[in-house]
């Protein structure tokens, strides 16, 4: 059957008939490719009982769910069994997660940039993931930069999106409910293999030992969590230290770790700066970096050889490989 083009009114079907009758003598002379021709008969709309019932529902009860709630937040179809964060009543596994609202993001930026609190301390206090805190600060900086430059912000869009999502806000100066779990471990590839590691029952097998069993250089889970300082704080509390004291120590430790990380980064940048020789010309700066060309391995195919390799495919365009930058410079 030839494909049918649905037309708006059935009145045109008469003219279509006339046209097709005119066209028919031509078909014998036309090339085989154009002989198929398009029928302009309007397609009949298929309507099932279910579809009719759905349309009926959208006109009655469903009309309540067309717009987000006037007080803000999502307007999900919920029944007695489903919770407020479940968009699909029959899919209990799907929960929409809360997003930080404008005021919460401003509070995080204020704490980090104005009051000089560490990312780790803010993350632990508000229960927001460390990477999310960093991202919020970065994006807020961009926003403020745009405002200072007089660039137009997409505020209506942001408002519309936030009005349709479950949001989370914080009250400054009080204990808030956390947004998300903050001590989630990144799954290390070395820990994904199944391992049988016989040990004596009399021996204490700690997390340190477990890490060593997976890989000689692997750190224990206690050290790989985003806030190892929180573990120390809990230990201090168990030992009977006062909460204020333990908290002060945690903040101090977080500051120290952040300073250490900054120093490490600075040192790396300095070492890189010293290793490159810069030659300024009129148009460009040429940056010469010293390399060792003799680290080619036995067959000249070591992974960190300088330059493109000979006789080996370059996987820069391979399907399934990430081609966009994955880190912030």
């Amino acid at each position: 059957m030839p494909p049918r083009i649905p037309t708006k009114s059935s009145a045109s079907s008469a003219s279509a008939l006339v046209r097709s009758s005119f066209a028919s003598p031509c078909t014998s002379q036309c090339l085989p490719s154009c002989r198929a021709g398009f029928s302009t008969t309007p397609s009949r709309e298929r309507s099932t009982n279910l579809r009719r019932a759905f349309l009926q529902w959208t006109r009655t009860i469903g009309a309540n769910y067309r717009q987000p709630k006037p007080e803000g937040g999502p307007n999900y179809i919920s029944n007695a069994r489903s919770s407020a964060l479940q968009p699909f009543p029959l899919n209990a596994q799907f929960r929409s997660s809360r997003v930080l609202d404008e005021q919460a993001r401003e509070l995080i930026w204020e704490k980090v940039m104005r009051q000089g609190e560490t990312l780790k301390a803010v993350s632990a206090e508000l229960g927001v993931d460390l990477t999310r805190v960093a991202a919020v600060v970065r994006l807020k900086e961009v926003e403020k930069d745009w405002i200072s430059k007089g660039k137009k912000l997409a505020t209506p869009y942001s408002k519309a999106v936030l009005s349709m999502l479950p949001t989370k806000s914080f009250r400054p100066g009080v204990q808030n409910q956390p947004l998300e779990p903050i001590n989630e471990l990144h799954i290390h590839t070395a820990t994904q293999k199944q391992l049988f590691w016989p040990t004596a029952e009399s021996r204490q097998f700690t997390r340190e030992d477990a890490a060593k069993a997976f890989h000689a250089k692997m750190l224990s889970a206690d050290k790989r969590v985003p806030h190892p300082e929180l573990i120390q704080m809990e230990k201090n509390l168990l030992r009977g230290m006062s909460p204020d004291d333990a908290r002060a120590r945690f903040i101090n430790a977080a500051e120290q770790s952040e300073r250490k990380a900054a120093e490490k980064q600075m040192k790396k940048a300095m070492a890189e700066e010293q290793a490159t020789k810069k030659v300024n010309t009129k148009r460009f700066e040429f940056r010469f970096k010293e390399v060792d060309s003799e680290l080619v391995g036995k067959d000249g195919r070591a992974p960190n050889v300088v330059g493109w390799k000979y006789g080996m495919p370059h996987y820069d365009r391979k399907k399934g490989l990430v081609k966009i930058p994955t880190s912030v410079p």
């Binding site: 040429f286 940056r287 300088v306 493109w308």
Partner: protein, 120 residues
């Protein structure tokens, strides 16, 4: 046979990238060289967060090997000569100056003295 220090083009269409190689002069450009001693990225790049518009080009070079090969008679191509002779910092080669004198504009036709015609 002559040994050259030259560039071998890798990269993609409209995105060149060169290996700095030591190779026999009569071998093909991208044939396997004696040694790869560095890379040259000719596409100018800006530093992140730098709005000044100043661009840089990245070169990786094993200067020790470059000096060795020149010591045993390898001949850099003009492009490589230019890179190897850049200022004191790299200064493996003496720069090949075309003309050290500042350029002067050529004489305009109006300035050229016309031979005087004898008046009758």
């Amino acid at each position: 046979m002559t040994i050259k220090i030259r560039l071998a083009r890798f990269g993609r269409r409209n995105a060149p990238f060169y290996n700095i190689v030591v190779a026999h002069a009569r071998t093909a450009r991208n044939s396997k060289p004696l040694e790869v001693i560095g890379t040259y990225d000719p596409i100018p790049k800006a530093d992140p967060y730098d709005d000044s518009g100043r661009l840089h080009k990245d070169i990786k070079l094993d200067t020790l090997r470059a000096k060795y090969w020149i010591g045993v008679g390898a001949q850099p191509t003009d492009t490589m000569w230019r890179l190897l002779s850049m200022r004191k910092q790299v200064g493996i080669m003496e720069p090949k100056y075309r003309n050290q004198q500042p350029r002067t504009a050529p004489q305009l036709p109006a300035d050229i003295k016309k031979p005087e015609t004898p008046s009758a």
